[in-house]
Subunit: 350 residues, 4 copies
């Protein structure tokens, strides 16, 4: 009954097999391996972007920080939401990699509000040289709250950004989960909607620690390579990253894994709807959800082994107090575990 | 006939097996996995350092830069040799991670000259607030030229450093190769000689991309953890790093691999001594060596598939001109390949 | 009719005279001048802090950024209000000087709300290594909105900060204006209330460009000196900074200048109360104020030469629309100019 | 008898007068003062560069660091000599401002050797993404050893730099001293020879603390303004910097002051040639010189009040040992003082 995170589960056998297969003889180091050529070709193909610059790093924070640093001057500010991973969960990595740029928090929610975004952009630079200058917009797809931007929403954000000549970065730590949720193409969800750079996540969707960074305009390529090396994120034995990403993209594995995770979440959500005391904070759209329930439910579930985070309190206290839980489902989750968890909740309800 | 590097070969089967074994169910993320507990215990045991702070990262540059950043203030300078990896091969990563500290290059060789080191330390701070302040000393063991510091040499360097209250960092990218060369204990080669922090390499000796950072004084622990996270070097699925390092240390695998690499190099060196035109630039002591030979030899070898770097020229030109080659042997090298290479050289000699 | 700023007026004759007097023969450079000894002694005396570390820099941004950098680690966050000068008007200088620390914006107002401050501090670090760590609190006295913290308010903020072992910095760009407003001692308003470091402004109160940085705990002294030099803020001909600050502090000139500025503002405020359409956004307490009036008043005033900033619009548009103006009075303001300005407003009212 | 520095003397009366004259009424802040318009026009006129971007800062380290940061990426290296002020005397400010770029030390002398410069440039980037990338060349005119580059020498350096598409910065802390030494125009010594950016010193030649930064290509203008503000080097009461620089440039005052300083140095040098035990380390060409003499001479001079730095020892020890002294003459030096100093030396000789 593990719903705490999608970065704590195992990797599919195909990934291990690909790594074993890659483990023969010598391979050029530092990204010059032949498997990386295949990765690059697959990503360009999937994204319908034959010119795209494609790189691998090992952590999502590296992907985000390096992508943003390439798009940001140190006297600028990056526009993001107050719950953005780059703001809350990267221990100042974006500030570090950009040389001290600021993050401007827009609105109160996990999705940009267009009017607030426009106002925030307009406000920065109203002070001329005194305030930070406008920098890139970074949106997260799937959002940190489990919602998914529609193509129209992404397009509208990019339109605002581009009207100020600002680039847009997508933190796609759960890119595949969003894609299968929307049922569109990778190109639709990115450059066709106006996205300039993507952190294309693999780790939360079944890899050991591999993320791609994609720039649709290859002019950023060499600077990114230098920033990656300077950040100590260039792997000598790069083939083991390439092999993972290559197997991940082959035969739609990445989409299958995301579909499984989303299906698991839908199954859990359906079950939770039968709990009258449970209330969704946001309508779940991918593989994570926020649910409010009385503490008694959490006590029953967690004391029996369910693992997930409470967002606004702990197990001690009034059993009737409502607490928010975050449930994340990964591809490897066993439906029996979900059933068992739901039974625990139903037992409280009874 | 691959002598170009020890970061381009495969990993031993034990490492793959350990990763597969680790690939079951959920594990706590971000270094809280139970395998890391075993790694920590093994390293503390091997180093006879029960209090040591032990962390894993995925690249040698990350290990060096993060270890040094933890020991260095941005207004200080790090003392190293002009061929140090941290100076030549990390694209300013130490400067980046330290917030802009300087590197002071001491002497002309890959080993510190004690008198020059002392003079360099004395010179920095002769300018009071105007010049950079003295920071840590960083030495490389095995050196970038294939030589190995003796315990006395390490002790003497540490004594100089400590007489100025400066810490000493060891870049141990080839730690195991040095250790089997010296035949001493890990404790002897580090804290017993005065070393304060170690980049304990695994990647060049058979891992996919895992290095440990060890501080013998645990007071640096929390700062290091924050710097690692801020540098985007904290892995969510950390267990796959742990599993590799754990298998590497178990049953002396790490020492066996290093012994093999060193034996391969000794075998190659012995063969090269039969080539009258070949001259060792330094007496080889571990798994890499620099050898001067006429271009004709390099032409014959490389045109027949031998792979290694020429340090001071290329294949085009006067066949009698002497060029320096770097030969690196990894654990996986096949002795037949060395034989074949030597035959190519002998054919030129004939 | 210049109410735009207190950094655009002349300096008193005493300052020029002191600079001329200092302009004889050679003086030790880089802060070792004998006049600096007098400055240090005067500040220690005024602040009743015989051990305080005292330094001069030339801009308020330098004072704030260097003081904060000395108190902040790059993986921490500085707590300030959303209108803090360090956030809005320093073009990421605090982020730059701290090596990439974050600024956490607390509340909605120019004064800290205690409960919000406590909540903000508690929230940061709830994410362990993933989020930024807690760093110093920075408050502004006089606030950017013209209000003044009472001693009780300062004490309460410092108590909260110290309960988390966090230091408190005071941006005292208008320190003297606050002091004469409160009628307390410099010690009362700072270390006796719990303040750890002060940016002690001189420029807005009559100097050409001199600010002191004061640490009540001298342990920060040498690090600050190195950061000042590294930031290029150490003056070789430091005597001309010393001479200004020395004359400023002598015979209470600094307090006289602040009193004049505050009196000018009080005179203006009194006049504005006679304008029925004028409304104070905050009760003015020092030498600046925010006032809402219909556009017609601003049109009349500015078209006749009054200079001040409109905060939320410009002169074009509906004459009845209410716009917020900021009025700042410096020591050199002529009361006749205020009278003339008020007459322009009264003419509209008529 | 003060020969220790040219940053410890007084400023000419014209400068004080100009500051007093500027001290009337309100002036636009932050560099928008009308006097700055005159400064800009004068510098463009003097440099025959009608498009040049011209800015003022208060310290030489700020001028150098900000100019270089504008020309350098953080993954690059700046080429300079081992005695460059930016390397030895700025406490890592260039590293700080550039975001962690490296300084590559070329040759052993205060002047670039062309072959060594070319080799150093060629060497950097031989390692591809692993080493730092090539960045700007920074030369110092007058050099730190008192020598002066000829126009041909400057042109040759710039030609090398430009053949690699690298910009050239001139640290002109003693720009005027070099100019009167060469007897050429400011344009000849800079952009006509290929210089891209100049730190145009005023402080060592009679100002309180004002340096101009000049970019001949105005494309750097806005980035420089942002970097200056972010570095806390933008003065609100900028008029007092402008007034100094304006008076300095008017009526050739700057050249007169430099001529005086150089004449003083020539007078001293001539006198020193009469001391048989004195030997010039470099042929003096401007207002500073390095002279070797037995310790007995230094003992006699310094015990009688002469002030200057010994470069390689102190007064204690064998009177016959040869020690190197640096003598710097500023514009305000009294010839009687030089005579008195020479008499002290002659007395030892007798």
């Amino acid at each position: 009954m593990f719903f705490a995170s999608d970065n704590a589960g195992p990797v599919p056998q195909q990934i291990l097999d690909a790594m074993s297969a890659a483990n023969a003889g010598y391979q050029s180091a530092y990204g010059a391996d032949t498997i990386m050529d295949q990765v690059r070709a697959q990503i360009r193909d999937i994204f319908e972007a034959p010119e795209a610059a494609v790189y691998l790093v090992a952590t999502g924070t590296a992907a985000n920080s390096l992508a943003l640093a390439t798009l940001t001057q140190p006297f600028q500010t990056v526009f993001c939401t107050p719950v953005a991973h780059i703001h809350e969960d990267e221990c100042n990595a974006p500030e570090f990699y950009s040389g001290g740029a600021k993050l401007t928090l827009v609105g109160q929610s996990a999705k940009f509000d267009l009017a607030e975004l426009r106002r925030a952009i307009e406000t920065e630079e109203s002070r001329g040289v005194h305030g930070p200058q406008r920098g890139p917009i970074s949106l997260t797809q799937v959002t940190e709250k489990g919602t998914v931007y529609s193509l129209d929403e992404i397009r509208a954000i990019c339109d605002v950004a581009h009207s100020f000549d600002l680039p847009v970065h997508m933190d796609g730590a759960r890119f595949a989960n969003a894609l299968v949720s929307l049922g569109c193409s990778a190109a639709d969800m990115t450059w066709k909607a106006g996205i300039d750079a993507v952190s294309f996540g693999g780790t939360k969707n079944g890899l050991m620690g591999v993320e791609a960074v994609i720039f649709f305009d290859p002019k950023h390529a060499w600077e990114f390579e230098l920033r990656r090396k300077r950040g100590a994120h260039l792997f000598s034995k790069h083939r083991y990253l390439s092999a993972q990403m290559n197997a991940y993209l082959a035969d739609g594995l990445w989409l299958d894994l995301a579909q499984k995770a989303n299906d698991n979440a839908a199954y859990l959500a359906k079950g939770l709807r039968a709990i009258q005391a449970a209330e969704f904070v946001y309508e779940p759209a991918a593989n994570l959800m926020f649910v409010r329930m009385p503490r008694a439910y959490h006590q029953a579930a967690q004391s029996n082994g369910a693992m997930y985070y409470l967002w606004d309190g702990d197990l001690e206290g009034d059993p009737d107090e409502i607490l928010t839980a975050r449930f994340v489902c990964d591809w490897s989750l066993d439906l029996n575990q979900i059933d068992r968890f739901l039974e625990l909740l139903l037992a409280v309800q009874a």
